[in-house]
């Protein structure tokens, strides 16, 4: 079947099998490897991307369901000059990652969370990221990074 999906701002058309999962479409058809297949059971969140601006687990969405819609992956966050998105910058600054496998999903879930709730409390950050597992950091630095990114983004909004 034919799908028409806007991926990181570029509209593309592809011929796919209906059973192709969005995460495999992104990784294998588009060559975008940020979204990882972790658990493959809608649990770990490593495959999180934005679908029309909302965070979803791309291992549990068919590429067909994304037809006519817009997908953003971690590759689509940084600017054309390679400048990191404030959320990416905050994860780096606050040491919000160790092995890095969960990070693209964490970052995308964070972008979705902050779009919904630009000034989350620490508790809201922890609950907002409950769909993303990290097996290295113990989450403290991730939460710090999200709070720091929220501050940075709202300061940028005020400027």
């Amino acid at each position: 079947m034919r799908v028409e999906i806007t991926v990181n701002g570029s509209r593309r058309e592809d011929e796919i099998e209906p059973r192709l999962l969005l995460v495999h479409y992104l990784r294998e058809v588009c060559g975008l490897r940020a979204a990882n297949v972790g658990c493959d059971t809608t649990s770990c969140g490593a495959c999180t991307v934005l679908l029309d601006g909302t965070s979803v687990k791309s291992c549990t969405v068919l590429a067909a369901q994304a037809s006519g819609r817009a997908i953003t992956t971690a590759e689509g966050l940084s600017g054309p000059d390679g400048k990191l998105h404030p959320v990416q910058q905050a994860f780096r600054q606050e040491h919000g990652l160790q092995c890095g496998f969960c990070t693209p999903g964490m970052v995308m879930a964070t972008v979705g969370l902050l779009a919904d709730n630009p000034h989350p409390t620490e508790q809201e950050v922890r609950e907002g990221l409950e769909g993303n597992f990290c097996r290295c950091t113990g989450y403290h630095n991730i939460v710090r990074a999200v709070l720091s990114a929220a501050g940075e983004l709202s300061a940028a909004g005020d400027r």
């Binding site: 209906p18 059971t41 809608t42 969140g45 549990t60 006519g68 979705g112 769909g131």
Partner: protein, 272 residues
């Protein structure tokens, strides 16, 4: 994990979806958010030949007041149900329940109609619908019919839906300001209930205490006769027939049902 091959059709309206169901019969499944169906297809517990996507039908996603009741479109996401000011004020138990399904990403995709049609007895929304005395509006080839929660859930992952019918709306009486109780016992974050209890207005429904959501009728009768929460909750497992699994045996589930029912009843304003 990759599902078996299938044919994918996107339906433009509920009528078209029903026509497609009629044409393809048992070989077809409706797909909305896909957060119950796709995981089953990935492990090949389900292998439908045709998927009819109803997730993009805009007229199936809404929350509105109708005749003093609340009506929610079948393809409304858990996120919308959980955060809708109308649901939160009119049927707060349901909003709370929807907010406990999975995690944020799951709630962004999963839909109320999908969860109810999936009919997992451990899930939140079937129990919640039973507790709030809700019903589903179902569309078939000969038109619409309504099915109350207690008649709708027939057994494990089994409902009263005919193969050519789909849920189009969920309706329930409103209870603004009425106290309610909700208990969900899990061992891991984001998990299904090992036992769940929802209580409001003298009604008590249990999750994962049988093949379908269970109404704790003995508890309800005791409450109607003036019993307190402790006495009524002692009867909570009378109607249930819980399964055993790695999380709990039947005796432990019965015990949990009583403990959690007491807590739910106290939240729902029943004196101890």
């Amino acid at each position: 994990m990759i599902p078996s091959p299938f044919e994918y059709v996107s339906a433009g309206s509920a009528d078209e979806a029903v026509e497609l169901l009629r044409r393809h019969g048992d070989d077809a499944k409706l797909l909305a958010g896909g957060h119950s169906l796709l995981p089953m297809m990935k492990v090949r517990l389900a292998a439908p030949g045709v998927l009819i996507d109803v997730g993009s039908i805009p007229s199936l996603s809404y929350v509105r007041a109708v005749d003093g009741e609340l009506a929610i479109g079948a393809a409304t996401t858990h996120q919308t149900v959980a955060t809708s000011p109308e649901v939160r004020s009119q049927v707060p138990l349901l909003a709370w329940s929807a907010g406990l399904v999975g995690d944020p990403q799951v709630r962004h995709r999963g839909t109320i109609g999908g969860s109810l049609a999936h009919a997992d007895p451990a899930a939140d929304l079937p129990m919640a619908l039973s507790a709030v005395d809700g019903r589903v509006v179902v569309l078939g080839p000969s038109g619409e019919r309504e099915i109350g929660a207690d008649e709708f859930f027939v057994g494990y992952f089994e409902t009263a839906l005919a193969p050519d019918e789909m849920i189009v709306e969920v309706r329930m009486p409103v209870r603004p300001g009425q106290p309610w109780g909700y208990q969900k016992f899990t061992r891991r974050a984001n998990d299904w209930a090992i036992v769940g209890v929802a209580a409001v207005d003298g009604r008590v429904a249990l999750a994962n205490m049988g093949a379908a959501p269970v109404r704790a009728v003995s508890t309800e009768q005791a409450l109607a006769a003036g019993a307190g929460a402790t006495e009524a909750a002692g009867l909570a497992a009378e109607e249930s027939d819980p399964a055993e699994d790695m999380h709990a045996d039947a005796a432990y589930r019965r015990h949990l049902a009583q403990v959690l029912t007491k807590r739910a009843l106290i939240s729902a304003g029943v004196p101890a």
